[in-house]
Symmetry: D3
Subunit: 138 residues, 6 copies
Amino acid sequence: MVEKKVSVFRKEHFNAAHRLNNPMLSAEKNKVVFGKCNNDNYHGHNYELIVKVTGVVDAVTGYVIDLKMLSDIIKTEVIERFDHKNLNLDVSDFKALNPTAENIAIVIYNILRAKIDTKYELKIVLYETERNYVEYPA
Amino acid sequence: MVEKKVSVFRKEHFNAAHRLNNPMLSAEKNKVVFGKCNNDNYHGHNYELIVKVTGVVDAVTGYVIDLKMLSDIIKTEVIERFDHKNLNLDVSDFKALNPTAENIAIVIYNILRAKIDTKYELKIVLYETERNYVEYPA
Amino acid sequence: MVEKKVSVFRKEHFNAAHRLNNPMLSAEKNKVVFGKCNNDNYHGHNYELIVKVTGVVDAVTGYVIDLKMLSDIIKTEVIERFDHKNLNLDVSDFKALNPTAENIAIVIYNILRAKIDTKYELKIVLYETERNYVEYPA
Amino acid sequence: MVEKKVSVFRKEHFNAAHRLNNPMLSAEKNKVVFGKCNNDNYHGHNYELIVKVTGVVDAVTGYVIDLKMLSDIIKTEVIERFDHKNLNLDVSDFKALNPTAENIAIVIYNILRAKIDTKYELKIVLYETERNYVEYPA
Amino acid sequence: MVEKKVSVFRKEHFNAAHRLNNPMLSAEKNKVVFGKCNNDNYHGHNYELIVKVTGVVDAVTGYVIDLKMLSDIIKTEVIERFDHKNLNLDVSDFKALNPTAENIAIVIYNILRAKIDTKYELKIVLYETERNYVEYPA
Amino acid sequence: MVEKKVSVFRKEHFNAAHRLNNPMLSAEKNKVVFGKCNNDNYHGHNYELIVKVTGVVDAVTGYVIDLKMLSDIIKTEVIERFDHKNLNLDVSDFKALNPTAENIAIVIYNILRAKIDTKYELKIVLYETERNYVEYPA
C-alpha cells in the first residue's frame, strides 16, 4: 500500500525593521538598485510566515506533525529572534546578507530544516506585504 | 500541439463540531497527545474547503470544468453531509477515524474523486483555522 | 482644552462548539426556529472577537490602554474559558442562555466590563462566520 | 554548488466587465452553458492577478527579480489594457476568445511570457471572485 | 430595565457591470469627472454588501433578527436583481441615476427599508473594491 | 427635504519602522512600559490606513467626494512622507511625539483635516497589525 502524503501548513507572523543595502556597492548604486527600500534609517513590515511540512499521516494520531509542536519550534527558532527586531542590526544571519524577502525565506528554511526531522519535506512562504511574497524552495 | 492544462479552484465552507480522540489510547494519553482538541464535549471550526481541479481547457466553453457544476457536487456530496454537524457523531466516515484536518481532507478527496471524471486531477485544501491548514495529495 | 478620545481595537479568536436551543420550546419548535443550528450533537465555529476600548490618550505613554494588557485580560477572562469548549455544556454563562452570537457578545461584554476601568467605553464585535457578525452595545 | 531557486509573487488587480458567450453556439445553448454569466449586457469582477516568477537569487541584489520592475511590466502590459474595460469589446485578445477565467489567465501568461526573460519560470493565478480562481500553467 | 440593543450584520455579494456617466453633462465633461470609470463599454466589480440591523434581542430566540431570514430578503430583493447584471442597463433603479457606490448603497437601503420592520434600524455598507467603500446612512 | 449623508472610505497603506520610547522616562522604565516595542534599533509594520469622509451626495456626480482626488491627497500628504521611512527619525511630526498607533492616527487626522473641506466630517482608522488598530476621533 502506498502511504498517503499530506502537507500541513502553519502560519505565524513577526514585525521587523529592515533596509536593503549591499555594502559592496556605492551609496548611489544602492539607491538606484533598492530605491526607497534603501532608506538609511530603515523601514519595516508585518511579515506573515507560512511553514509547509509534508509527510505521511501517522496512523495513531491522524497527524502529519503536531502543529502545536511545529508552532512552538517556529516561535522558539524564528519568531523570538526576528520579532520586533531590526533584521540588519539585531539578527546575526543578516550581518553579511541583504535581508530581501528571498534571503529571509532561505535563512528561515535553513534554521527550521535543522530542527525538523528529515523525513519531512519543508517549504517556506514569506509575505513581506499582502502584494509581495516569496516561496522557498521553488 | 500540446494541450493547455489549467487548474481551477472552488472555495466552499462548512461549520462543524469535532474532537480529536483515538479510542485505542487511554484517556490520559489522548489528553497528552491532543491537548485541548481532546475536550470531551467537542469544540468546532469554520472549515474553508478549496477544491482544485486540473485539466484541459474545453475549446467550446473555455472551461476546464463548469465551476457551478463543481460547486453543486461539493455541496451535495460534502457540505450537506458535514455542515452544522458533529463530525465524530453525525458523519459516518469518522465513526472509526480521528477527524484531524489531515483525515478530513483525505475523506473529502475520496468522496469527490468518486464523483469527478478521472480525466481531471484533484487536490483538496482544507483550512481548519486561518493559521492551520492542510493539502492532499501533497 | 478638550481631551482627544481615541478608540483602540484588539482582535482575538476562539474555536468552540455550540447549538441553538431553547428548552422552553418543544423539539419541533426548536427545529423550526433554529434550523440546522439546532443540530442535537452541536456544530462549531472559529469565533473572531474584537474588543473596542475608547478613552483619552495618555500623555506619558501615548496609549489609550496598553493593548498587551488588554490582550492578557481578554485571554484570561474570555479565551481560556471559551476556547476549545462546548459553549452549551462547558461554559457556565450559557447553562440557561442560548449561545446565539448576540448572547455570546453580551456575555463577553459583561465579563470584560467588570475588568476594565469604567473611565473607558467598551464595545464588543463578534464574528461567528465571515458573513455573520454582531456588535454590542449597538 | 546547486543554485537556490526561489519563487516570488506580485499581486495586482483590475476591474472589468465581461460576458461568457460562444458565437458558434445558439443563443439558447449559450444561455444553458453559461447561465447568468451569459447576461447580454455584461456583468463584471474585481480580478486579483498574482504573477509568480521562479529563478535563482542574484548574489548582488538578493532578488530573484526586482518586484518593482515586475509590477511595472504587469501594469504596462496587462493592467492598462484590462482595467476598467469591457474584456469582450475593448480588449483585442478576446475578440474571438471567450473571456473565461481560464482563457484570461492564458492570455495574461502569453503577454507576460513575451516580456519576461526566459531564464525565469512563469505562472499566473487569477481570482475572478474570492471563491473562483484559476492557475496557469497547471 | 433598559432593553439591550445589539447590531447584527449579514454579508452578501454580487458581481455587476456599470459605468459612471451623467447624461446631463457632455461626453468630454463626463470623461473629465469620471475618468476611466466612464468607459463607454462598462467595467465591473465584485460588490460586497453588508446589511446592519439594530434592535432588541428577542428573549425567546436570542436573536435580534433571524439572519437566515435577513439573508433571504437580501437575496430576493437585491442579489437576484443586481447579480450578474449591468446596473445601468438592466436595473431599473439606475435608469436615471448614476450607479456610484453612494447611489447604489442608497438604492439598496431604500429597497430593504421597505421590507424590514421599522422597529429595526438599518444601515448599508457597500464595498466596490477592497479599497473603496461606502456606508449609508452616515 | 433632508440631505442624504453618506460616508465614503478609502484604504491606503505604508510600510515604516518605529520604536516606542518616551525620552522623559528612564531606559529601564521605557523597557517596562513598552516592552519589545522599545527595541533600540526599531522594528516595523505594514500600516493600513482607512480615511473616512462623510458628507452629502453631490447631485451632479453622485459622489460625496471624488475618491481618486481623496486618494491623491492621502498619497501626497501622508504616504509620501511616511512610506518606507523611520517614523521616529525621518518624520518631523514624531520628533517629540511617541509614534504609537494612537498618535500616528491623530497626526494623520490633523494633516488631512487641513487639506479637506470643512463641510466634510473626517475620521481615521489605522491598522498597525491585523489584530491591533485604532480610530480617531472616537
